[in-house]
């Protein structure tokens, strides 16, 4: 089985689906000839042809609208928004249209489409190349929101998203495109090749939407995370020497409530991590769910470690990024409360 980084795994998912299903096509800014600014669509135009993988005008609303129309026709478009920070112009089409088509037409029209977009910080991208807008989608009835954390999951989840009959927002943690990042920015970066989840089958497989993964079992504390923060969680649990259970949510809506409840009922303590700004982030929903389902098991306040309620400033990459120091502090607080 070849070792793939996340970019290669995503590319492979698209390649598999373009090969398998003539109704799959992919487009977005710079995705055609060039293969995308992060190279996720590299080689696909050459292999599958100009009409199956192509460049678009710089109009995110237009890209999504066109994909909705194509979805209604019966295609399964996969569009790329170059950075999640640039998805807002398409917000109306996503919220008012993609998410609503099935409901308002009582199933007559649907928009089976996938919106891929790189998100998150850690690359010195400044405030407009670092954002994590997942909560803006989890609030919207009718959208599924998915965030992979490894090459294996990235490919399997992307294929599942493309095959899903509902619109899926597929957020790619760009910090870990090339290697798992544990938040210790001053240590050498590992390539994916050294990580078991870089073993990615060449062909078709899926990782089901709506299912979390327990990446580390533990009895004392539950950590809920997704994307890059999964790796920060693992490193932090290890370094803090805490018997923490680390759950990679993978899908935010619909979330795997059973996995969450099973773990928190066991541990009685919970720390929630994300890069997005804290206030009204997806962490708030997780806190609400955990306290609603596990109130009588909770032994300490649920902790949130998140991006600060400020934009993501260029000079302060590591002061902003919720790294191991803050995560470990929160774990200790949760353990000591």
């Amino acid at each position: 089985m070849p070792a793939m980084n996340m970019i290669q795994a995503l590319n492979s998912a698209l390649d598999v689906m373009l090969t398998k299903d003539p109704n799959v096509l992919t487009f977005g800014e710079d995705v055609g000839f060039f293969g995308g600014v992060f190279r996720v669509t590299d080689g696909l135009q050459k292999k599958h042809g100009l009409t199956r993988c192509f460049d678009t005008p710089i109009g995110e609303a237009g890209i999504v609208a066109v994909a909705i129309g194509m979805g209604a026709y019966g295609l399964r478009p996969v569009v790329e928004i170059q950075f999640a920070d640039y998805i807002y112009p398409a917000y109306d089409q996503l919220v008012s249209e993609a998410a609503r088509l099935r409901y308002r037409s009582a199933g007559d029209f649907t928009a089976p489409m996938t919106v891929r977009t790189p998100y998150g910080g850690g690359i010195f991208g400044g405030q407009t190349h670092s954002q994590s807008p997942e909560a803006l989608f989890t609030h919207v009835a009718g959208l599924k929101t998915v965030v992979p954390s490894t090459p294996y999951d990235a490919k399997g989840l992307l294929i599942a998203a493309i095959e899903d009959d509902d619109p899926v927002i597929f957020l790619e943690p760009k910090r870990i495109y090339n290697g798992p990042f544990d938040g210790y920015h001053d240590r050498p970066v590992q390539p994916w090749a050294k990580h078991p989840a870089s073993e990615v089958p060449e062909g078709h497989y899926t990782v089901p939407l709506g299912k979390a993964a327990v990446l580390r079992e533990g009895n004392d504390l539950t950590v809920l995370a997704y994307g890059t923060m999964v790796h920060v969680a693992l490193a932090s649990a290890h370094d803090a020497g805490i018997d923490a259970e680390v759950i990679d949510l993978r899908t935010l809506v619909p979330v795997d409530i059973e996995a969450i409840v099973a773990s928190v009922e066991k541990t009685g303590r919970c720390v929630i991590l994300h890069e997005a700004t804290r206030t009204s982030g997806y962490g708030a929903e997780l806190v609400a769910l955990v306290q609603e389902h596990c109130f009588h098991h909770l032994e300490a306040p649920i902790e949130r470690v998140a991006g600060w309620d400020t934009p993501y400033p260029h000079a302060f990459e590591w002061d902003y990024f919720p790294g191991p120091k803050r995560v470990i502090e929160a774990m200790r607080r949760a353990m000591e409360a």
Binding site: V66, M70, R102, D164, D166, I257
Partner: protein, 409 residues
């Protein structure tokens, strides 16, 4: 360079307001038959003057003139006339139903019936229409059951949309009528995407979409024109310039500075302006655009010049912002009266037949309404509440299932 004159902010305002006499001196009135029909493979730049002219076929005497005359079989025209009559009767009936408290809301298309009925006569049944909320004429022309439309308006148990949509926001894939959105303009670039999909598949279906002149200001109008141009999508982009967007006149949308048809020029698309109250002209222009699209030559933007005869919706009173009875002096007349005159002029129709057709339209509507009301009006026989939780996703996820349980349904 200093010592300059102070600037001032210009806010456009219409010529007339309530209390004034309507003034339609600005309405372009090229004579019927005056504008020549170009070949469908013309270079758009060579016909930019068509964005400023007004394509008209029917003259004041009911004659069909010029190269745009589609020379239709009288049967097609009669179907158009009858469809317009039914549309008008339907609008009147549903308007009254709202006033009677049988539903919450209604929007008429009175005065603009030719825009949708004319297009419906051109498009194939498997072409897809992406309408705004004033193209009920498309469904009616295509023979969609009036009763079903009414059940939608009444949000009753037989509403195919299960009471989810505001009245008039129909949807029928079978009849090539895309689900109407409450959000203006969103359907315009979606139609382009649908058309691109047809081209991508090597199929032969085309798409058409409609927005009001007010809606051209949305960003989605721009996206539609731009994507249609870049990918040469087989789509007809219609702007229904009925002069008003709720209370704001077309100048607020930019119409005093250039025609809406001329927006096409900057995208390299043909932009045609047509007398929207002239069934034959609407037919001809739509046909030209459809042929162009089917010949893989791409999209056309059509501005239908017409007038919103009544209020914006049942929530609106136009007499608060424009002269009363403005429609009566609208120089392009009533699309029904004009097509009727033509059919009579060519001896394919008579006053008596017209009267009978009018009665028949009212009767069809009455009969359908009786059935629809029997199936329930707003609040009397709603769909089952548990359907409220369905179709958010294909499969109901746990959290919605739980909410349905909480609701006890």
């Amino acid at each position: 360079m200093k010592n300059r004159r102070p600037l001032s902010l210009r806010v456009p305002a219409p010529e007339t307001r309530p209390g004034d006499e309507p003034d339609f001196s600005g309405v372009p009135l090229s004579g019927a038959g005056e504008v020549a029909r170009p070949a469908i493979d013309v270079r758009p730049r060579d016909i930019s003057e068509l964005s400023y002219a007004l394509i008209r076929v029917l003259d004041d005497e009911g004659r069909a003139l010029g190269s745009w005359n589609p020379k239709l079989d009288p049967a097609v025209m009669k179907h158009g006339l009858k469809s317009m009559l039914v549309t008008r009767a339907y609008d009147d009936r549903m308007y009254r139903a709202q006033r009677q408290g049988k539903t919450s809301f209604y929007m008429k298309s009175t005065g603009e019936e030719a825009v949708s009925v004319g297009a419906a006569a051109v498009l194939e049944r498997d072409d897809m229409c992406f309408p705004s909320y004033r193209q009920q004429g498309l469904l009616i022309s295509r023979g969609y059951p009036l009763k079903t439309m009414m059940c939608q308006v009444y949000s009753n148990a037989e509403d195919p949309l299960k009471g989810r949509q505001l009245p008039i926001m129909y949807s029928s894939k079978e009849f090539g009528f895309f689900t109407i959105s409450g959000n203006l303009g969103t359907q315009f670039p979606q139609a382009v995407g649908w058309a691109m999909a047809s081209a991508y598949k090597g199929d032969d279906r085309i798409a058409a979409s409609w927005v009001g002149e007010g809606t051209t200001a949305e960003g989605d109008f721009h996206h539609a024109c731009n994507f249609a141009s870049v990918y040469r999508a087989p789509v007809i982009l219609n702007v229904v310039n009925n002069q008003w967007a709720i209370s704001s006149y077309q100048g607020i949308a930019g119409g005093d500075e250039a025609t809406f048809a001329s927006r096409a020029i900057g995208y390299g698309l043909p932009g045609l302006r047509v007398d929207g109250n002239d069934f034959l002209a609407v037919y001809a222009v739509t046909q030209w655009a459809a042929e162009r699209a089917r010949a893989n030559l791409g999209a056309t933007l059509i501005e239908h010049y017409t007038f919103r005869a009544e209020g914006h919706s049942t929530s609106d009173d136009p007499n608060r912002y424009r002269p009363a009875d403005a429609w009566k002096s609208w120089p392009l007349g009533d699309p029904i009266a004009r097509l009727k005159k033509h059919l009579i002029a060519i001896k394919a129709w008579s006053e008596a037949e017209h009267e009978a057709a009018e009665k028949d339209a009212v009767e069809q509507v009455r009969a359908a309404n009786k059935e629809a009301e029997a199936a329930g009006t707003l609040g009397t026989h709603p769909p089952s509440v548990k359907t409220m939780f369905e179709d958010v996703f294909k499969e109901m996820p746990w959290h919605i299932r739980r909410q349905r349980q909480e609701a006890g349904v």
